[in-house]
């Protein structure tokens, strides 16, 4: 059943604090949806609960009909749900090649791992010349590219991206977002993009979900969201 990502009345508590209070939304297969909100809105907690890093207290979340909850992150990766964590999620002590290899380590089809690695490197040619360098010698943008490239080697169907623009220069952000958009176009991937940088995210998104204090404020197409002056001032920062 290709129902895409369906999140229903999801609630996550951190101790006594309700980081995600009641969130419902869906992402259709092949769609790119941006979750937008200020710092502390519950964006990261939401995405962490979808990838198995945090256990929600109630509600449900499923990918193509199969529940995402109460599964370990490594299990979800095997089911095609891959989360790229916030903050240039690479392992600085390992080389670029080793970081890439991690994405395919668990996969049996080594021929396809090699193919996926080639595809990732042609998407980010800057990495191809730095394969033997340690990841901590890369620039911020290159590290983010490496994190995405590694995820691609796992052949994700649903990509969960947490703040890929964090700490990057505007020009680099644009490059990264062009690449993310490319993933959907070239590979038909479904993407859930969590971003504070509303403007860049809405440029490539099909739809946006605005959240604040752990709750959905509104959803709509980028044009609808951007044209709402009140929304722009209160939540989008644009």
């Amino acid at each position: 059943m290709k129902s895409g990502l369906v999140v229903s009345h999801l609630k996550v508590n951190y101790g006594a604090i309700g980081a995600v209070k009641d969130i419902s939304f869906s992402v259709l297969p092949g769609e790119l949806v941006a979750v937008i909100g200020a710092n502390g809105a519950g964006k990261s907690t939401l995405i962490r609960s979808l990838s198995g890093l945090v256990t929600p207290s109630s509600g449900s979340a499923s990918w193509n009909g199969s529940s995402l909850l109460h599964k370990r992150p490594e299990q979800l990766v095997r089911e095609g749900v891959v989360h790229i964590a916030e903050g240039k999620a690479v392992i600085p002590e390992l080389t670029v090649a080793e970081n890439l290899a991690l994405g395919g380590l668990w996969r049996r089809d080594k021929t396809d791992v090699a193919l996926a690695t080639q595809e990732s490197l042609s998407l980010f040619p800057a990495l191809a010349t730095r394969l033997q360098q340690r990841a901590d010698t890369l620039s911020g943008g290159e590290r983010q590219m490496l994190a995405i490239a590694r995820a691609l080697i796992s052949r994700p169907q649903l990509l969960l991206l947490d703040e890929p623009s964090l700490g990057l220069a505007p020009l680099i952000i644009e490059q990264i977002f062009v690449a993310i958009n490319h993933l959907r176009v070239q590979f038909g991937m479904t993407v859930l993009l969590v971003e504070q940088n509303a403007m860049s995210a809405l440029k490539i998104a099909d739809r946006g979900v605005v959240i604040n204090l752990g709750e959905v404020v509104t959803t709509g197409t980028p044009a609808e969201l951007v044209s709402n002056t009140q929304l722009r001032e209160a939540y989008l920062g644009i």
Partner: protein, 296 residues
Amino acid sequence: MFIDTLLIGLSSGAIYSLMALALVLVWRSTRVINFAQSGQAVLSTYIGYEISLATHNYWISLPLAIAAGALIGSLVDLLFMRLLAKRGTTGPIAEIAPVIATLGLLGLIQSVIGLIWGNAFLQYSSPLSAKGFTFGTHTIPFSPQNLFIVIAAAVVLGIFGFVFRYTNLGLALRAASFQPEIAQLSGIRVNLVRNIGWAFAGAAGAVAGAVITPTSTLSPHSLDLLFVSGFIAAVIGGLDSLIGAVVGGLVLGVGFAFILQYISSALTFLVGFIILMFVLLVRPRGIFGQRVNRNA
């Protein structure tokens, strides 16, 4: 005389390296100093001792003692450390609880050994001679057993080095120890990989116990001093570095041997602690420890 002392130092240094390696393997993956390591090593040595009594063959008992050491390491993680991590609270207790727990486990293992085998000094013998090699009329203090110790340690270190550097398992072990969350999100079964790390550590400690014990005696506390030396060696090497553990062990072993030979036996441990304090004061991250921002 200089060469003799160097050889003796290498032999004991190799053992310290193995013990240091066991500590580093656990530290890297769980951020815990495993004080139970000497208990685990001595328990696997007792198992080797029992097997050698039953089979009258040291060479059969040795691999089985190593396998037992790996199994014990794996069980300590599964039944003990993982449970603690699951029930772990937050705050300072969460950091210190596993360390205290390993101390408790050490006491438990040594008491159980005392109950089963008693506290007497047992002889776990190897067929190799403990008498030094003779060249003409000169007998050096370096025996075939010492040579075997050096070879065994080198083989273990070589295998670990190869596994860590060139295999998928090694890559998974390194990834899981540096950034467990990213490793998990890449599809690596971090708990399984961590357990293999504990088994490797247990095996390294077991090799140390099984090859050094024939040069002295076996008792519940016979490896305690070895643990202290291994710990100092691991800290000198930077706790995070496998090469550091090896170099730290060799430096300490050779250093001890020269002090014993040329100054006084009373000073050996004192000097060990002076070296430790010196490293901690001058280069707290150890000789091979890297100043890496783990959140970068």
